[in-house]
Symmetry: C2
DNA sequence: ACTAGGTTTCGAACACGTTCAAAACCTTTC
DNA sequence: GAAAGGTTTTGAACGTGTTCGAAACCTAGT
């Protein structure tokens, strides 16, 4: 891979990198816990940094010592999603080798993990959608989470009894991740009871995706598969000039 | 429809509805003009409401009398995009009946119209991505712009010499609009010289879309086409419970 | 001309995200 | 234990989006 990792700031005094002392780690946790609770109870906008700090028993300035902005407090939620989904998938992947079931399960697992935060997830993904924002799913900062997610999909495919065409094999995990991104985008806007519409979307699209994957080896479709793979490679990462 | 439209405030004294007096309309224009200029020069974040007001020669409070938030000042830009694109397409559609050319031209027209605002478009689309935001492309408030855009694509198809399968005919304009939304999303994140990567994306995907449309009538693909159309109908508008 | 009722304009005041210089605290070294 | 040097914590202060009550302005009716 030629990914131009730009030397990740070795000597940065950022307390976000790793826990220096146990105590500071505890403070950090208090703050993020207070924040997530308040976000759930009052929504993102309704929660002030003063309230977060007070609820965590620290000063405002201290909260900013650990998190450089209000938005950054959300990374905690973000990380949680990915790990929760992965955890749920371990069991799931052991239980079935059917591609569609695995895909469906993985998406539903994400949904379950995200449910409690639905209200403020809108605010989150919106700001995350900003190009320069470190929370953007495409950004350098969230590449660990992204890579983990893509790896999950690679495993999903690997353990399923489907034969993917050569052209698409390498790219499919990334494509499925993009597909998930689309589902999430829909979910964010979904205000139906129990996010029923998103579930509907999943129930309907999983078979379609599954069918597409199978079709991708068909002679008439093959050129499309190849072009798709090429494209993803070509455009990977719009932010890099 | 059971959409619980909460009686759209018939007697609302909102000056946004229509121009009451010529003078007030002039003031409104001054403000939006000043805002767009400053946005271009200083970026969105770099522009304060105080600066906008001062540059328009009015008070801060007055600016808020016309626009209920800083974000709302952006609707002007939004509207401009759609009309500019439509204008460019009149000529274009007269010139060619080839589906791919027309599609490519329409997308490039949008790109040209949007180019000067690329920097702050990120901020715009990000906040617009928020579910409850009136600037959201799915919201009630921007349904005129959306409908206009979809109509443009309907015309694009209508005047092209392609035969679209029955299952997809009614839904295709909406699908193309979604496709454009995807391109825009990519563009927003594209910081390459002259947004070259977005142009690359267009050059590569237009033939693919074109091919897909042609393939959609194939017996093996037909079920997929039908499912797609069904899905769009089923899920249209995630915000309505 | 004067008044009444609506529309438009004003700018001080407010709330909240964020910054910063100084203090408190902790660990290590002598 | 005292000093030195780093880490953590504090809260007052700042900038900016937004609100609000009051003033200025306009139009129509008498």
């Amino acid at each position: 891979m030629t990914t131009p990792e730009p030397t990740p700031d070795a000597a940065a005094p950022d307390p976000a990198d790793g826990p220096r002392t146990p105590k500071s780690e505890r403070t950090r946790q208090q703050i993020v816990a207070a924040a997530l609770t308040l976000f759930r109870e009052q929504g993102y906008q309704g929660t002030t940094m003063r309230a977060v700090a007070a609820s965590a028993g620290v000063s405002v300035g201290n909260a900013y010592y650990y998190f450089s902005s209000k938005e950054e407090l959300i990374q905690g939620f973000y990380d949680q999603m990915v790990t929760d989904q992965a955890a749920a998938c371990v069991e799931l992947f052991a239980a079935s080798t059917d591609f569609a079931s695995r895909l469906r399960g993985a998406l539903l697992a994400w949904l379950d993990a995200a449910e409690p935060y639905h209200e403020f997830a809108g605010r989150f993904f919106a700001t995350a959608a900003q190009p320069d924002n470190p929370l953007s799913p495409f950004s350098q900062a969230s590449s660990p989470a992204r890579d983990a997610s893509i790896a999950l999909y690679r495993e999903l495919i690997g353990g399923a009894r489907v034969t993917v065409g050569d052209e698409l094999a390498a790219t499919l995990p990334e494509l499925l991740w993009l597909y998930q991104l689309g589902v999430v985008l829909y979910w964010v806007h979904d205000s139906s009871e129990g996010t029923a519409r998103t579930r509907l979307l999943i129930e309907h699209t999983v078979p379609m995706v599954s069918r597409l994957v199978r079709l991708s080896r068909l002679p008439v479709i093959r050129p499309l598969s190849r072009q798709t793979a090429e494209l993803v490679g070509l455009l990977r990462g719009p932010r890099a000039g």
